[in-house]
Each structure stands twice: as C-alpha cells, then as structure tokens.
Amino acid sequence: MKYSALNLVRNAFSHNRNWKEAWRSPEPKKEYDVIIVGGGGHGLATAYYLAREHNVGNIAVLEKGWIGGGNTGRNTTIVRSNYLWTEASLLYEKSMQLWEGLSQDLNYNVMFSQRGVYNLGHTLQDMRDIERRVNANRLNGIDAEVVTAKQIKKDIPLINTSPDARYPILGASLQPRAGVARHDAVAWGFARAADQLGVDIIEQCEVTGVNRNGSTVTGVETTRGTIKAKKVGVVVAGNASVVASMAGLRLPIESHPLQAYVSEPLKPVLDTVVMSNAVHGYVSQSDKGELVIGAGIDAYNGYGQRGSFSTIEHAMQAILELFPMFSRVRMLRMWGGIVDVCPDACPIISKTPVDGLYFNCGWGTGGFKATPGSGWVFAHTIAEDRPHELNQPFNLQRFETGALIDEHGAAAVAH
C-alpha cells in the first residue's frame, strides 16, 4: 500500500487496521544470488539498489539483531558532502543527491531536512583549511561557502561569537544543502522498498562463518543454518574485523566507541547544524525539539556500545563553549555506537582477495550520511564485480600502495 496523505485518511476511517507490514519476515532460503551481511542502512540500501538498478532477483539481507539497530540508529543523523579530497567529496555528493530524492524514491518519509551545516573555525589555521575545503567543494560542484563570525551570529543568534571566548569563532564553512534525516526511517524505508522488490530481509540471523571453495565464496554459516550464495557483500559496521577474520582477512580497522546524547525537548532554538572540530562538539535540534549532540571518539578499542562518561563531560563543555545558555538544559538520553576507523578516515568499499566476497566498511564517523551512496556504489561493485569509478579509490590496495585519501581534517571527530 502506497504511503500518502490520502491513504492516511482512508486508513483512519478503518481505525488503521488495514495497514500492511512494512517488510515481511521470511524464512531464509537455501540459496541466494547475493547475500548482504548486515541489516543496517548501508546493507539495506545495497540490497535495494541491487534489486532496483542491477536487476538482481534473489537477494537476502541477513541481520543478527533487528534492522537499523547498529550505528544506523545510534548516530547524530548529520548529512553533508563537504569533504576535502575529490575522491571523498564525489562519493558523499553522490549520496547527497540520492538523499535529495530518497523519500520519494522509497515512498517513505526519511525527513531529510536540508537546514545547512556549519563547520566552525576557531584558529587562523582552521580558517585556512576551511577556505581550502570550500574552494575544493565548489570546484567539485558542491555547494559551500565561507561565512564570517558576524554572519554566523546572524544565522544562529544563540551562538557565542564573542572574541573573548577561549577559542573564539573566527568563521565557518556552510553547506546549505547539508542537514539531518530521521535515522530509523532510513533503515525502515530501505527495508520496505527492498522488500517490495523481493529482497528477503531476515532478522535474528547471525553470520557465524564465511564458506569458500578455494578462493571463491560459496555462502555463509548462520545461526539459522547454512545459506549458499554466489556473492556475499559484507557491510557490518562495528563488526567488520570480526566477519573479515571469518574469511581469513585482516583489515586496517580499529573499532572505537562513539557517544551521543540528546536533551529534553525544547521549543525550536537552533535551526541548523553546528559542528566544531576544535572544541569537539556538534549539535542540531530535532523536529521533536531535542538537542542532538555528538561527543568525541573514545581512544580505546571497544565493541561495548558505550564509552567513558568523561567523554560526555567533554562534549558538554564543548557545547557550552558554543552555547553557554544550554547549561540549564538537561540531558535526557545518552548512548554509544561502534565506529570502525580506517587510518585515513576514509571507508573501504572493495573487492577482496576472495572471489565473490566484497567488503564495505571503515566509515568511521561518516557512515550515516553516506547511506544511500554507499549502498549505490556497493551494489554496483557486487553486481558488476568491479568498483564504480566513485568507489574505485576506496579499495583495499591503497594501504599497500600508499594511495591513502587523508580526510582527518574533514573527518576528525565532527561528523
């Protein structure tokens, strides 16, 4: 049943009793053409684009828990494409373009809200980096501008642009098309759309082994039995190294806790997204009124989906540096995700030494914004058995050749 205002009214008359399930819960088949391991946003998007763009008919998404329960449901929902290097910015821009029509594509309102993202500069070097990045963005066809502290104050009246601040705001980059989206809806929307194209979404099905015949993948072992597949795409943020080791691969990844928190709902006071690498904080306000705030990455490896409280305290201090009036606002919830960090702060979307086995991982803090684009290029990579030109640079070989794409400046913490 199509989602529309009309159908909403129609169903209201029948007491909402005729809505169909958004996605089925099928039993796994014995064999699929393609198995996607991981039912997060990226995995579901991959399945959706495989079915829609590449006409792959027989696809399963295997999820060990519930779909969207990993980083998809644990991030601060920021979407932007203003990366420094051309390789990264073109990939994220592809994603941005998909975001811009995603609700209509999926017939599921993912509430993509282009309310702009400000990346603040606090030092002269920050400003040089911002100028450099904005110029690169513009030449890559990505909207970006440098704004002065005065302009920031005009756009965001509550922000502290005092020159007496410990780290005064000197300016910012602004990407007007950037914004936020409703994270859960992204998983559910992709799931529903993929399901309608025949994709089997199988929850509570954990992959415990990767089967291969020589150097060719043949399927996976799961908690619900062996499932054969011609191709297996693995996109399991927070678990990439673990699944890689099942296939005998090592990855240049370390998994770290990354935390976030929200305030109690407030009347709208912040109409855009503010990020600061220098003071390690980023904040937006949700449509419900909650301030959504991201903290820094905990330094240690951790799969616990929780970090240290001192990291939250630092994030509070950073936010109060930017918005001293939020001091009396209260934190309502805090949570943690697991970010897989690559040495160059860029993802791996790549074929592997095992034929038919593909990995999509290492998104660090940049995963959510890339969801549709990541799925789109990964679907291409799997279907064609070769990367799309957009993800060609994000191969595994770069760690041998040295062709790294260093996005630490743009990625660091603030996403």
């Binding site: 809505w19 828990g65 002269l124 449509d287 305290e313 109060l320 001091s327 209260r330 934190m331």
Partner: protein, 992 residues
C-alpha cells in the same frame, strides 16, 4: 485559597506560606510543598497539554515518573526548562508556566489534533508530507512549530557548577527503609559511606506511610536513624542527590542540587561496594481516557495526602489489581474524601487492607474494572464493567459512577535502572509480575522494593542483609544491627492486568495511553506490530514509547506487555530494555562542571606575555598558547603592522618571542642511536656544538614535525618541535623508546616551560648581543651559522643558538624562564638604537615564506612526504628511520605527486587567497580537476610583491607554467609556478 489543603498533618511548614504564580495567576503554598502539591492544594488540576494530541493533562504522579506536569520554571537567564512539578520544591516568588498549549493551556488550538487523532497514529509522518518534495520544508516548519516543551534560556547561565571526586567503601543509592538499614549497617561498622537520595529528606516511601516501626510512627524512626547515620565521621549524606549513572568498575555519578553558591554538583564516586535501594515505581492501569486530569497513581494520592496534607479529590474511585491501592483508599477516606468504590480487577479482592476498607465502610467491587473515564479537563466519572479476570475482548460497561478523582494502581516495578546500567540483566519474576534485578555483574547488591520486596518488614530486612553482604565483601566486621519490628500484612497477590478491556476492541476504543507524554496508546503499539515493527526496539522507536522526559518510567512495562499480547509472546520473550544513563535528566551545566568559560581549557602564556599585552599585541591561539600575532602601532592594521615588522627585521633588527616552541632535552649513551631512528638525517655526523634542521616522519612516511636540533655533547641533544606538536612529539619519542627500543639508554625531558626562547633576527642582531657584553665571540669563525654556545648575556646565563627561521643573521637565546622578561626588556632597551622591532607570528610566517621554509601543518597536511617538500637531501640513505620504508611505496614515488612550489601572481600585485585551489582550465566542467592548492600567501614588503607557497601535482616539472588560483568569490588569478625560495636564495644573509 488552598481549598484542597487538609487542616492538619503533612510535612509542610504552615508557618511559612509561600506565594507563587502559575500561568500568570497567584497562588499560595507552604514551605515543604512541591510545586505539584501546591498546585493540587489550590485545586489546579489542568496543568499542561500532551505533546502530540494536545490533550488536557494533570498531575499523575509524585516523583520522577511524572510525565505530564512538565513546566517552565522562572524567567530570563535563571529559567529552568522542562521541570517536573513533582520534583520542584516550592519557593517564595516561584513562577511556573505550562509548556504546551497555545494560546493557553485551557483553550489550546492544538487540541484539534486530538479530534483527528486517528490520522496521527504511530509513525504517520513516515507516510506523508512527501508530495510534492518541494513542500517538505513547509511541512517541517509546521512540525517544528509544535516541537518541544519549554524554552531554553536565552542568556548564559549565571550559576556555577562543580565536580567532586570521591571514594567510598559503600555507596547506598536511596534513603528509604532498605537504604537506611544498609547505610546504618555500613556506618556502624566504620566504613566510608555515601548515602544519596533524590528527595529533600530521607525516608522514601515512608514519608507517605502511616506504618509503625519499633512501636512508633515510621517517620520518627527515619529521623532517628538518619540522625545516627549523619553522626558518623566517615559518612556523607547527600540529599537532593540523584545517582544518575552507574559505569564500569563501580564508578557512579551523582548530581546534587545544592542551595549554596554552586547550583549543582556532580559527584564522581568510585565505590568498593554499592547498595541499590531506589525503591519501586507504581504502574498505571491502561483503560480508555486514563490520561484525564484527575486520574492519579495511588502512591501519589497517598503522598499528597500524608506528606503534603493535600486532598486531590473529594469523591474518588480507586481502581486496582493489587492490595497497595487500598492504602490510598484508606488515606483518602481518613482525609475526608468519599470513596465511591474500590474497583478491584481481582475477584478475590484484597487481604488485610481489604478488611480495613470494608470496616471503614468503603464499597469494594471485586471482579470489576474501570473501562472509561468521562470529563475532559477534569474527571467527572467512570464507567465500570464486571470482569471475569480472563476476557481480553470487549466487555459491557454498564455501571456509571460520578467522581472527581480516579486513583489507579497497576502494581509496582522495581527501579532496576542503575542495576541495568551497571551491565547486569534484569529478570522477569512471574510471581511478582515485574522485572527484578538479575545477577549482579559489578560489586553491588539490590535491596528493598527495588529488589522486589514490597512489605515494610521485608524492605528493612533486605536492606540490612544487603548492607551486611556489601560490608563482608568490602572486608568489614559485621556491625551490631537488629532489624526493627514492622508490620507485615496479609496480602493477596497482584493479578496482572496490562490492558484493561473496553467496550470496543482495542483498535477502536477511546485511547488507552501507555506513554502519556508522547501520546502513545495501545492502538499505536498494535499498529506497529501490524506493520511489522515487532522487535521491542522497533516498536519503541516507531511509536515513541518511552522516549518522553520520564524515560518510560511510568508506562514502559505496560507497553511491553501490550506488545507481548499482540505478538502472542510472554513479556520476558519480548525482551528487557537496557537502561542507559542518566536515571533522570541531568543538566549540561553539572556534567560540564567548572570547565566552562575561561576554564574551558587553560591558556598557556609565555614568560614575556605581560610585555606583549602592555605593548598592545594582538594574539592568536596556537595550540593552548596565546601567541602575539602582530604588534600594531596606533592606526595600523594587520597588513601595515606586518609590513613594518618585516622591513625592520630585514633592514636592521627584529625580536620574536619563540618560547612556545617545544623543547626536549635528550641525554644518554644511546642518544645518537635513538635519534638516528627518529630523524631522517644523519644525526651521528653532527659535531658537538652544531645544530641541524631535522624532520621526523610518521611510519606512513608523512611529515609529522620539524625543528632545529643541537648536539650539546657526545651523548646530549637539544630538540625543538613545533608549538602545536610539542606534547605529541614527546609522547611519540617516549613510546618508541619504551615499547620498541627499551634496550636504549636515553632520557627525555621536556624543558618547554623551563626555558624561554627569544629570537633576535636581522643584520644588527650580532651587534645587539655584542652590546650586551656577550661572553662568547660572536664572529663567524667561532660562532658559525647552525652552531650553539653557552654564554652570558647582560650577566644572565643563556644558551645561544645561531639559527634562523627568517633567513637573516639571527640568534635564538634560550634563557631560564624566570629571567626571560628582564632579558627581553634588556634586549629591547639595548636595541633601541637599532630600531629593534618586536614581531609576531604573522611576520614570522612572512619572513619564512620569503625563504621558502615550510610550516608543518600549514604547508603540509597528513599527505605530504619529505620528498614532496624537496627535502631529499635530508633523507639519509645510510640508515633506517621511522617512515623510511613507506617512502618507497609506489604511490609515494609517483612523479605527479603534489610538490611544494612557489607561486607568483602574474600581475605582481594580487595576493592570492590562502586556500585557493589551483586549476588549469577555467572552462572545465565540474568536477574541475585540481592541481593543488595555495597553502601560504602573503604580500612581501621586502620584495615589493606578493608571494605564495603551494602544493602542485608534478609541480617541479611545471616551473614557469601559469595556472589559475581559484577561490570562491574572487576572480581567478593567473599564477606562475616558481621556486619556493623568493629571497636570498644563496643564503648570504643568514651566513653573514
């Protein structure tokens, strides 16, 4: 007129009347009231509107579970957003407002949503607002227009906060009967104890109780025990203090609301043992229109009557599935209210309390249920049906009873939040119909109602037990402690009733609310299941169940039960939800503590800082340092000041405070071996007394830091690092020394703060030092470029380096920081005849750029090798060093890598903006290929034209080619690729 105030009783101070305002009207209450009790005393029952449907709402609870009475307290910078009226202590002059409802809470336009509530079913927003796409912004503005409860303050917080670190043997969370017993045991045994309770006074549920302990009223007992506990030296009793976080290794956080100059304090406690005694939270019953003002929890009704002497209604219906609510009925009765009926879903009725109710003449209706409520802004009556205890379908609601208060109890849920936060699981107890703490995974014991013990006698016993267990584990002797005598009534067990059957089926009946704040109803959860959202996490996220500011304390368990019913599963099969901090919301301010404003990050200042300030320097932040950026004379801007400073230095004499450079002393027999592995050049070949420019690479081959190093002896070196990199470099060196090469005997000492560095640069620098009776011969023979001498300058012992970051004849003077300011002043005085000119970082940058010297972090990023910087000459072929192997990877050998070049604007006048990208073809379509970028760019006053440095792909093979420097908002600038050395390429001046 406090019409609902009882004539006597309560723990309020009637001698202290307090005036307050709510929604613009004046009221009066008493000291000891909460805002909620004072509002109820004044018969204010309509307090707020709900989030989505804007339904009228009153006060349901009396504590942290309250979902409705979410108010804006105070005004201006002091305003407190989203405070629960049940937890706001009444104060003279308090001003409170509803946070929902426009134009007001009585008449609210938004209530139209309730009329169309079927449209606003769970997740409706995912299904609409999509067509046309262009209107989403408009739709969203409308959605946002109704967002939020209270307003954030607009002014910075005038109050202060602080953090306290504490250690204790036993931390007791909760000062109800169980917590008091545990704390008493611990205190008597001599342990270091912290007892924290969120209330204004100890006692917990006893404050609303008429129970007898050891033959006297329970509140008397509480006072005696609390007084004894407070009397022990090693005991800290914290009232108004919520234990809100339980982290790894028994680290717990407490927020204390104080009355002193500090508004709130965060205690960060490391406890050897923890006793969790936070009590239990009463559950609602889920019947139609159960959200109407006047529907209240039984525990809250008792609390308002007994603790605050407020009678919240005159004619009550009590609806329950357990014995506890009978107490509320008795309390209502003895306070003078009429009990129209006790409606008990159990056909068996209650135990001892049931007998008491009957004895008091209260009509009891066992085997009945309240199915619906009439009244909109206040309860006017209920509909009642007989019930067989099993039917889940429709029932016949044939009985109408008028009332102004519905008192409900769906049983209690232990407050297992902290237990869950500690990493432990909760377990479903079928006999108690609630989650109880499962096996502990940290050093903690749960006790009392929080451990599923309902009767007072059990709570006291369990508290004593938990205290003893904790003490034993912590290695203390058992104290002498007897459990006081308390009653234990005969109780008939609770019979689960998660959703009350109605006259229509659950999808059609009037709304049965589970999450009052978010307007999540039974029908919403059932809809979610129908649509395939079956996992509890999906259901919560889809319906917003539990996402209100009460964090699901009130309705979550009922919600899980309704989900279980819809799925045909049991509650534990649906799963437990994991609780995360905070237990109740905590202010950003208290989490941030003192580290805000100027204490956000300490400012580092050099020993000469005062002089810079008094000389009118403008400063920039470099790392944690405040460094002079430039020294403007009156009327000068940055450009003018920098031009003057540059010219003065090149022509005669400049002086720079370079103290922020990182300085590391390296000593030990293996110093050479060690540094050979760190730096790219041949360290061993350096003569004693000589200096060298050194770079260090990461293992990935990228330039990490640079600086001058000096060999002070066979086994002693002095290193400098960049200002921002000092700490990281020291850490880097230490890590290699300790983890990889522990066999090397080398000692590293940071001397950044101990020594200040003053650079004097310019043709007259030697004369200046000479004038100050420098104790060493400064001539080229004795003191050539790149050498070092100990010396005395104006009688002050110094270390003199003949190094130059400006390309001029220059010396860097290292001096004990205690002498830095006087020495600086001496140099300034003596330099007057040479027109000595202080300069800042900007001039330093221009002077070095004229010489083509890079700044790591400005002209390099994490992707630049020394080869890219044309520093091949510094890369030893004779040894290994960190990062060397990476330089021979294929990508690092490409000849089209981005290489350091100089750039000159063709018109010789335009300063290219820093950060400009370099492109070849102005007409190329996007994405436009970029050759590189401009990393440094200045007007060179000495050369009379602008200069720039940049990184250009294959730049060295592009000498004299012209490219475009492109920057947003500027005309593209034609720039010629040249050598990066613009000034004195033969280095005649520095060697002079």
């Amino acid at each position: 007129m406090q019409v609902n105030r009882l004539d006597k009783g309560g723990r309020i101070d009637r001698s202290k009347p307090l005036k307050f305002r709510f929604n613009g009207k004046s009221y009066e209450g008493y000291a000891g009231d909460t805002l909620a009790s004072a509002l109820l005393a004044n018969n204010v029952s309509l307090i707020n509107r709900s989030f989505k449907l804007h339904r009228p709402r009153g006060i349901i609870g009396s504590g942290a579970e309250e979902p409705n009475a979410i108010l804006q307290i105070g005004k201006g910078a002091h305003t407190l957003p989203n405070r629960r009226a049940t937890q706001v202590a009444l104060q003279e002059g308090l001003v409170a407002r509803s946070t929902k409802g426009w134009p007001g809470v009585r008449f609210d336009i938004g209530a139209i949503n309730d009329v169309f509530s079927r449209l606003f079913s769970a997740g409706f927003y995912y299904k609409t607002f999509m067509f046309p796409q262009s209107l989403w912004n408009l739709y969203e503005d409308l959605i946002r227009g109704s967002a939020g409860f209270a307003k954030a303050p607009k002014k910075p917080d005038p109050d202060r906060y602080e953090h306290i670190n504490a250690h204790c043997d036993i931390l007791v969370a909760g000062a109800g009967p169980a917590g008091l017993m545990a704390a008493l045991a611990a205190a008597r045994s001599g342990a270091r104890v912290i007892l924290a309770d969120e209330g204004t006074e100890a006692g917990g549920a006893l404050l609303r109780s008429d129970e007898i302990i050891d033959g006297r009223p329970a509140t008397n007992w509480v006072e005696t025990i609390a007084t004894e506990i407070r009397g022990y030296e090693d005991v800290t009793v914290l009232k108004n203090s919520t234990v809100f976080g339980y982290f790894a290794q028994n680290f717990l956080t407490i927020t204390e609301r104080t009355e002193g100059p500090i508004r709130q304090r965060e205690w960060r406690v490391r406890a050897r043992q923890v006793v969790l005694a936070q009590g239990a939270i009463e559950r609602p019953l889920i019947f139609c229109n159960n959200d109407r003002p006047g529907v209240m929890l039984a525990s809250a009704v008792s609390e308002y009557i007994r603790r605050y002497a407020v009678l919240p209604g005159k004619r009550a219906v009590v609806f329950t599935n357990n014995d506890a609510a009978y107490q509320a009925a008795l309390d209502l009765h003895s306070a003078g209210a009429t009990i129209a009926a006790i409606v008990d879903s159990r056909r068996t009725g209650a135990g001892d309390l049931g007998e008491q109710a009957k004895a008091a003449g209260i009509p009891v209706m066992p085997g009945h249920i309240v199915t619906n409520v009439s009244g909109r802004k206040r309860v006017t009556g209920v509909k009642i049906a007989t019930w067989d205890g099993a039917t889940e379908g429709m029932v016949d609601e044939s009985i109408d009873i008028a009332c102004d208060l519905v008192t409900m109890s769906g049983g209690y849920s232990p407050a297992v939040h902290l237990h869950s936060q500690s990493g432990a699981k909760n377990a479903w107890d079928d006999s108690l119909s609630c989650f109880v703490p499962g096996e502990a995974v940290q050093a903690c014991e749960s006790a009392g109602a929080g451990n599923g013990r309902w009767s007072l006698r059990d709570c006291l016993e369990d508290g004593a037990r938990a205290g003893k267990v904790a003490l034993a584990k912590a290695g203390f002797d058992m104290p002498d402690i007897a459990v006081p005598a308390a009653s234990s009534q005969a109780v008939k067990p609770l019979e689960p009733l998660w959703r009350v059957p109605a006259a229509q089926d659950p999808d059609r009946c009037p709304k049965q609310f589970l999450d009052f704040q978010n307007d999540t109803s039974v029908a919403d959860v059932r809809l979610a299941v129908r649509e395939g959202y079956r996992n509890i996490e999906h259901v919560k996220r889809y319906t917003a169940l539990g996402f209100g500011t009460d964090q699901g304390k009130l309705g979550n368990i009922n919600g899980m039960a309704v989900l279980a019913e819809a799925l045909g599963m049991s509650i534990p099969e649906v799963g437990t939800t994991t609780f995360r901090p905070p237990y109740t919301p905590v202010s950003f301010g208290v989490c941030a503590g003192e580290s805000v404003g100027e204490l956000y990050d300490p400012v580092r200042k050099t020993a000469v800082h005062e002089w810079h300030e008094s000389s009118g320097a403008e400063f920039e932040n470099v790392g944690q340092w405040h460094r002079p950026w430039y020294f403007p004379l009156p009327g000068e801007d940055l450009d003018a000041a920098v031009a003057r400073e540059c010219l003065a230095t090149r022509k005669s004499l400049g002086i720079l405070d370079a103290s922020t450079l990182g300085k590391i002393d390296v000593q030990g027999p293996d110093a050479v071996t060690f540094l050979e592995r760190i730096y790219t050049h041949n360290v061993g070949k350096m003569q004693n007394g000589r200096c060298a420019y050194g770079i260090m690479l990461g293992e990935d081959g990228m330039v990490m830091d640079d600086g001058v190093m000096a060999r002070l002896g066979d086994n002693r070196f002095y290193l400098t690092t960049t200002t921002g990199g000092a700490a990281a470099v020291l850490g880097w060196l230490e890590s290699w020394l300790q983890t990889e090469w522990p066999e090397l005997e080398v000692y590293l000492t940071s001397i950044t703060d101990q020594y200040s560095t003053i650079a004097v640069a310019g043709p007259n620098s030697r004369r200046l030092l000479h004038k100050l009776s420098c104790s060493v011969d400064l001539g080229n023979e004795n003191f050539p470029f790149m050498s070092v001498h100990d010396a005395e300058l104006a009688g002050i012992p110094v270390q003199l380096f003949r190094v130059s970051f400006s390309g001029e004849l220059a010396f860097e003077v290292n001096v004990d920081s205690n002498h830095a300011l006087p020495l600086w002043q001496t140099l300034m005085d003596a330099g007057e005849e040479f027109d000595i000119t202080p300069y800042g970082t900007e001039t330093m940058h221009v002077l070095r750029a004229e010489k083509g010297f890079v700044i790591v972090g400005q002209d390099t990023d994490g992707s630049v090798t020394p080869i890219d910087l044309n520093m091949n000459w510094m890369l030893s072929k004779e040894k290994d060093y960190l990062g060397k192997r990476s330089l021979s990877r294929p990508d690092c050998l490409r000849t089209d890598r981005k290489q350091l070049v100089g750039l000159l604007s063709e018109d010789n006048t335009t300063v290219i903006p820093e950060g400009a990208q370099l492109i070849e073809d102005l007409s190329a379509p996007e994405p436009v290929p970029m050759l590189g970028h401009v990393s440094s760019s200045y007007m060179s006053a000495c050369l009379g034209h602008p200069i720039a440095l940049g990184l250009v792909a294959g730049g060295w093979n592009r000498k004299d080619e012209v490219v475009y420097a492109w920057a947003a908002g500027c005309e593209p600038i034609r720039a010629r690729i040249v050598s990066p050395v613009f000034y004195d390429p033969r280095n005649e001046r520095q060697n002079d």
